[in-house]
């Protein structure tokens, strides 16, 4: 497995986690728990953006792996 495909896999796992947390933050009735979920999905979405940038730069440097 190439580096870029591994990073992409992690990226998709993170996206899934972010979406689930977002759902929980909407479903949860307790204010404190809701705040924790919201904070967590915001943090994860920041990491997700960093990873997306990294994927872009890897693909720019090694265009032969693009699309994998």
């Amino acid at each position: 497995m190439t580096v870029v495909s591994k990073v992409k896999q992690t990226l998709s796992t993170l996206k899934g986690s972010e979406a689930t947390l977002r759902l929980y933050s909407l479903q949860e009735r307790d204010k404190e728990a809701r705040a924790i979920y919201t904070e967590a999905f915001k943090e994860i979405s920041k990491i997700k953006i960093n990873l997306e940038k990294r994927v872009g730069s890897i693909e720019f440097q090694e265009p032969q792996y693009k699309g994998n």
Partner: protein
């Protein structure tokens, strides 16, 4: 008039009169009666019985006595709310029986409790060992309440330094195969949500005896047919595991890459994610 008609008439009137009188008296658990409460209730009951059977020849004498015994407790209740002094006179004061782990024999004698009775009361409070008792007090109702020594108290999550997620009360949304609209609206969910949840679990609505939604929106079902196994929802554990996996991935990317900039980004993200995991742990795993 026939005397039995008089008795019937008086009894019906007195029935409703006592009914309203006891409504206005303080609500008490029968076992929490102070001796004085007990006496006033018994006397009211006696007067009512005597009047309604016509044993008291002049009904107005009976009603006067009933009014005194009914109204004075009510007046005293209100005045004891205003004044601590009156409260202490009516209810007495609680008495400390064990202080700093030492039994106060004088106070036991004042309440006329023998050592054996005292031990029996402690046992009924689940403290078999006198050495575990830090503080015990006899309430004005005669109950003995016990506070255990700090190291003998049951452990709470606070003692262990573990954070636990707050839980609000669960709501019943299905009873006897019927959807309870009130429960659903209380937690801000819709019938559509409920039917998708049921579909995901593969259960028909008619087969559900009780369905309850907890504060985090998880649906728990009890079915009429106990042979059907419902998959326990492990969404939260799965989410926790997948975030942990992402964190491990970020760490390994940081080790693999030779680009310094990317390495520091991976490390920083891994660290941030670690913090997120720590915060989420009590909510997702417990």
């Amino acid at each position: 008039m026939n005397s039995w008609l008089i008795i019937l008439f008086n009894s019906v009137i007195l029935f409703f009169l006592t009914f309203f009188l006891t409504r206005f008296m303080k609500k008490r658990n029968l076992s929490k009666f102070t001796p004085f409460d007990f006496i006033s209730y018994v006397i009211i009951a006696l007067i009512v019985a005597l009047i309604s059977l016509g044993i008291i020849p002049n009904i107005y004498f009976g009603l006067t006595a009933l009014a005194v015994w009914g109204l004075i407790p009510i007046i005293l209740d209100y005045s004891s709310m205003k004044s601590k002094w009156i409260y202490n006179i009516i209810n007495g004061k609680e008495r400390v029986l064990v202080k700093n782990g030492k039994v106060m024999e004088d106070n036991l004698a004042k309440e006329r409790i023998t050592g054996q009775e005292f031990l029996q009361e402690l046992r009924s409070q689940k403290s078999f060992n006198l050495a575990d008792v830090e503080f015990a007090v006899m309430e004005t109702t005669g109950d003995i309440n016990v506070s255990l020594k700090a190291d003998k108290k049951p452990v709470t999550s606070y003692d262990l330094g573990i954070k636990v997620a707050p839980k609000t009360e669960p709501q019943a949304v299905i009873l006897d195969g019927n959807i309870l609209n009130e429960g659903l609206t209380n937690i801000g969910l819709s019938k559509g949500w409920l039917s998708t949840e049921l579909e995901n679990k593969g259960v028909a609505l008619e087969n559900v005896f009780i369905g309850q939604v907890d504060s985090s929106g998880d649906l728990y079902l009890d079915l009429f047919d106990d042979l059907v196994q419902i998959p326990k929802s492990q969404n939260k554990e799965m989410l926790y595991a997948s975030i942990q996996k992402s964190q491990a991935d970020l760490m390994s990317f940081a080790l693999e890459t030779e680009n310094e900039e990317a390495k520091s980004m991976y490390l920083k993200d891994a660290e941030n994610l670690e913090k997120v995991i720590k915060k989420l742990e009590p909510y997702l795993l417990r």
